[in-house]
Symmetry: C3
Amino acid sequence: MWHEHSVQTRKQTDFIEITHLAAEAVRQSGLQEGVCFVYVPHTTAGVTINEDADPDVIADFGRALAEMVPRIPFRHAEGNSPAHILASLVGSSVAVPVEGGRLLLGTWQGIYLCEFDGPRRRRVLIGCLGTKA
Amino acid sequence: MWHEHSVQTRKQTDFIEITHLAAEAVRQSGLQEGVCFVYVPHTTAGVTINEDADPDVIADFGRALAEMVPRIPFRHAEGNSPAHILASLVGSSVAVPVEGGRLLLGTWQGIYLCEFDGPRRRRVLIGCLGTKA
Amino acid sequence: MWHEHSVQTRKQTDFIEITHLAAEAVRQSGLQEGVCFVYVPHTTAGVTINEDADPDVIADFGRALAEMVPRIPFRHAEGNSPAHILASLVGSSVAVPVEGGRLLLGTWQGIYLCEFDGPRRRRVLIGCLGTKA
């Protein structure tokens, strides 16, 4: 049921649109109605849904998140506590409705892998639950 | 499987309780045990679960979120980047357990449509996965 | 389908790893492939996935969250608005992929009950959807 994809991020904070991976997973699964889950098995990356028409929207999101992490002394020795914090705030999965064999995303919605400690190669797991044709 | 509801918000930042829509969706679906998904197909609105006993709780949530968005210059020309940021932080869906044909919400839990760029008419998709009677 | 667990938290802000409860739920359910849902039916607690190797990571997360809540006058008379705010930001559920009868968590991922208004005894609901053997 789960298919793994590999996604290369390009910067420390980066947002890579992966809507096409979810759309293709739904198509290949033969799912007619149900839910498509996108899951990121990492602790310094996450996944979210936001506007994919104007790229400034997701860029503004990234700059706002960086500002929101407080400047306090962190104990985690790797120095990437801000990335772990943002991963949990954004979340490790999204659930997208499927009907008629396609994702029921809103007009402006796209699915983004959220990188907070890149650049790295990241794994994305996509799986579909529901009724097949 | 998915049923769409239309919800009118009343203010720029607004929280509309939609627990009854999810409860009714479960009832109409005939689902006995499984998960009820509530999904918002927008990028400046979201959905969350919080206390519905004292309305001050969700109002405090809204005022805190508004304060948490940093005052930095945003590039998105529409001027509603804070709404996009909050939509991703709150999230576009919730998953609520169902057993015995009813939502297993906690005593104080209610489901709220979160409006961050209103007032507008918003769409809410509700669908149930699991075992019917 | 849903099994309830009781978890005692020890401090006002606390993070209790509950990965083993989800792993055991998958094993007992006989689920081969699907999704394991972990749900917290409270409004001042939540659930998240983050690193469980270095305990400093989740401790840094807790201290950052406490700093992120703005110091504004809240109206909710119980005085625990910050806990309600953090519960919604962290979220009330996680969805974890299952394949081959086991959780497909990443190498460093663990599931944490997030307490923001403890110490208390908390309920955790765990349920599995998908295909059994």
